[in-house]
């Protein structure tokens, strides 16, 4: 305990000294720092903040020190996050490298690969995107066809990936490719790290029902990939893929948080529900109660589920603290519940706001209202990306409940 108190004190002091004032202001939509070779910083302070946090390894606080991570324990990281929250510090770096690839590399990559790639992720030097889905391989991901052929000291990759978020701004793509066309489908897949800065790789943005989106199609046309970019063994990529998907699912599950439950009640503070506050603005109230009884009941149900869900995320993290096991098949439960809950959140906002949440652009609507319209449409993909809700339920049934095939 004493050590933790000391750690908190030092962390507080360090943050006070090193987190630039500009980085303690609320973030706008364009303020996310994604890193990468051509990283765009919204402000010079953002660059400084990333450099300082990256140097300490605190962009990836719990990763091992030997690969430039922060080397913090579960409890120390909790303190760091609390102190960052206390000064409302912006995240120094957001990236798929942190959320998805890094944890999988730490588990599956060779020593050389870890030494090369992990520090780049920590410091935000390389921006990664994910090449999993293909036009014909969505829920049935393992049927993927993009192929990598052995050509001596390198692979030659041909095929197409889809839903590659931010591919047009990324430096590298971690990709599932078919290397064993004769093998059963799960046993012929390899995990390759591909540099996108070459003529054989091109991208094209995808427009969604919500309008502009970060999603792209990515095409491989005789792309060249050195042999040392193969992670794990040849044809053993599915194990890496599954593990990485669990990390992705945990990340998406987090979107289901929010609402009355996630706001922790402090002494003498009244608790509020974001959804109810919004609804009161648009529907009005009578004697402190939301004026529309039917909507009030729906919001109460939503808040209760969202409260229960956030407690469950917390419980899972406390339980895994001792076993240090990382994500499990139960992460499918979080992905399922979190994404369904987030969809419901936006449906309820629409219900509360009526026509004000149905504007597309221009006059008659506030910017926040227009954003909600777009976000509502965007949430429809929550229960599709990273494995559909139905796929998650299949995984729970088979791998958690052990129901027969």
């Amino acid at each position: 305990m004493e050590n933790l108190d000391q750690f908190r004190k030092e962390t507080k002091e360090w943050l006070e000294e090193n987190c630039p004032p500009e980085m303690r202001k609320p973030m706008g939509p364009g303020d996310v720092v994604w890193g990468g070779r051509n990283c765009k910083f919204p402000h010079p302070d953002a660059k400084l903040w990333l450099e300082r946090m990256g140097e300490k390894g605190w962009t990836c606080p719990t990763w091992p020190k030997e690969y430039s991570g922060g080397g913090l324990s579960f409890d120390e990281n909790k303190i760091l996050q609390e102190e960052l929250m206390a000064i409302r510090a912006r995240p120094a770096l957001s990236s798929f490298g942190i959320w998805m690839l890094g944890p999988a590399l730490l588990e599956f990559a060779s020593e050389e690969q870890k030494k090369k790639y992990i520090p780049e992720i920590v410091k935000g030097e390389i921006r990664w995107c994910q090449g999993y889905s293909e036009p014909g391989s969505g829920s049935d991901l393992a049927s993927l066809k993009t192929k990598a052929e052995d050509n001596g000291d390198h692979f030659v990759v041909n095929g197409q990936k889809v839903w590659t978020s931010y591919a047009d701004d990324c430096d590298m793509i971690f990709t599932l490719v078919r290397t064993g066309p004769q093998e059963p489908k799960h046993d012929g897949i390899s995990f390759l790290l591909i540099d996108m800065d070459q003529p054989g790789v091109t991208t094209k943005p995808i427009k969604l029902i919500s309008g502009k989106s970060p999603f792209c199609e990515t095409f491989f046309d005789n792309a060249i990939v050195p042999k040392e970019n193969l992670v794990s063994e040849l044809n053993k990529g599915w194990d890496v893929a599954k593990r990485l998907l669990q990390h992705e699912r945990n990340m998406i599950a987090g979107m289901g948080l929010g609402g009355a439950g996630s706001a922790k009640k402090k002494k003498d503070q009244t608790i509020s529900s974001g959804m109810a506050t919004l609804a009161k603005t648009y529907v009005g109230e009578e004697e402190g109660k939301l004026a529309n009884a039917g909507l009030r009941q729906k919001i109460a149900s939503f808040d209760i589920n969202s409260h229960a869900f956030s407690l469950t995320m917390k419980r899972a993290s406390e339980e895994s603290k001792s076993s240090n096991s990382g994500p499990s098949p139960a992460s499918s439960m979080f992905k399922y519940y979190g994404s369904e809950s987030n969809k419901l959140r936006y449906e309820l906002m629409l219900e509360a706001m009526g026509t004000k949440a149905l504007g597309w652009e221009g006059e008659g609507f506030g910017p926040a209202e227009l954003a909600i319209t777009r976000e509502w449409l965007r949430t429809k993909a929550n229960s599709i990306e990273g494995g559909t809700s139905e796929v998650q339920l299949n995984i729970i049934a088979k791998r958690v409940l052990d129901l027969p095939q």
């Binding site: 009640k265 109660k289 339920l393 299949n394 129901l403 027969p404």
Partner: protein
């Protein structure tokens, strides 16, 4: 609050699990249910619970209890809920004891020691209508010198049919539907003028109606202050709501596990029915919902012992969520069992009946959703 149990609580839970599997499997519930006695109650089992110290878990050490806390007794109830163990443990050791803790020192000394040592049985007479409503109290206690005269009726008194002592919520002033003017008294079940009629509930949980006709009690039997018992009632109700949620979670988990086993063994169309996606998805959804219930229950039962300041809302969270999920699981379990699910021979139907009655105890999901919204400011 903690989201994991401590060693002491795990120990209590494990010993209750052992007790339930060895002494009170569902066959025990059936035996008592099908016997000729009015109440679904076995005194021998009750005395064994008493000798294990379970009635003293919420009792302070000075009165012979262990003071192991709400999380401790709730963990026991969860395990007993798995086998539908009939006993007045909830009404005595949770509701009754928590109320008596607010009584005068003399009353505490008199009653709590007997609860711990002899298994004196307590019950709480509060409800007056067919829905839980702790302010809808018209049963009247009129001052008469240093005594009070109680007249009125109470219903759905859990374990009221064979309790030794009755704690009754009465109106001493004010209008029905208001918090002010409510008082609590404790009296003997065989008091003159008190008629107790056991009501046979669908799940054989013990309940009773009570009629008070000019029942005279001394003002020494007041719990808390005259006219001002509402705060006590509400705080005890919250402990009780959290504890009964734990019992319901135990029953729901058991019903779910029985069903899961059945899905793995029953064959139709040449396959195990658990291989059908139509059933798999529903089973997976129930699994997820139960995980949420576990978190609500543990957060809520530990909040009382750890002095949290959100216990009220957590109690409503727990009772609302577990109520809904037990409801869902009880229905789905019967459906997934098919024909045998609606036979008395199979246990699964017992859980359906148990769910509906337990949902009503101290507020159903609608009541608690409304309360959760109020406590959250809308």
């Amino acid at each position: 609050m903690s989201l994991v149990l401590n060693e002491e609580q795990i120990f209590l839970k494990d010993s209750a699990k052992k007790f339930a599997s060895e002494k009170t499997p569902t066959t025990h519930f059936r035996e008592v249910r099908d016997s000729e006695i009015d109440n679904c109650y076995d005194d021998k089992i009750w005395q064994e619970m008493v000798s294990l110290g379970w009635t003293g878990i919420l009792v302070p050490e000075e009165f012979g209890g262990s003071n192991f806390g709400v999380a401790g007794i709730s963990s026991i109830l969860e395990e007993l809920g798995r086998t539908l163990t009939p006993s007045p443990l909830f009404s005595t050791a949770v509701v009754g004891v928590s109320l008596i803790k607010h009584a005068s020192d003399d009353v505490k000394k008199d009653i709590l020691i007997k609860v711990v040592q002899d298994g004196l049985r307590l019950c709480f007479a509060i409800e007056e209508s067919n829905h839980h409503d702790p302010v809808k109290i018209s049963c009247e206690a009129k001052k008469d010198g240093s005594d009070f005269i109680i007249s009125g009726e109470k219903s759905f008194v859990i374990d009221g049919g064979f309790a030794d002592k009755v704690i009754v919520a009465c109106r001493t002033s004010g209008k029905e539907g208001t918090k002010d003017g409510i008082s609590l008294f404790v009296l003997d079940a065989d008091s003159k003028g008190l008629t107790i009629t056991p009501t046979k509930m669908v799940d054989s949980r013990n309940a009773a109606n009570m009629k008070f006709e000019n029942v005279k009690v001394s003002s020494d039997t007041l719990i808390g202050k005259e006219d001002n018992a509402y705060e006590i009632i509400e705080s005890v109700l919250d402990i009780s709501r959290a504890a009964i949620s734990a019992e319901m979670l135990g029953s729901a988990l058991q019903a779910y596990e029985i069903t899961l086993d059945y899905l793995k063994e029953r064959e139709q169309f040449g396959s195990k029915i658990g291989s059908f996606q139509a059933l798999q998805h529903r089973a997976a959804i129930m699994f997820s919902e139960l995980e949420l219930c576990k978190s609500c229950v543990i957060e809520s039962i530990t909040s009382f012992d750890e002095g949290g300041n959100d216990s009220e809302r957590l109690a409503s969270l727990s009772k609302a969520k577990v109520g809904e999920v037990f409801h869902l699981i009880s229905n789905e379990s019967v459906q997934m069992h098919g024909g045998i699910g609606v036979t008395d021979e199979y246990d699964i139907g017992l859980y359906l009946k148990r769910a509906r009655v337990a949902e009503q105890i101290f507020g159903d999901s609608n009541f608690h959703k409304n309360r959760y919204a109020e406590l959250t400011g809308y």
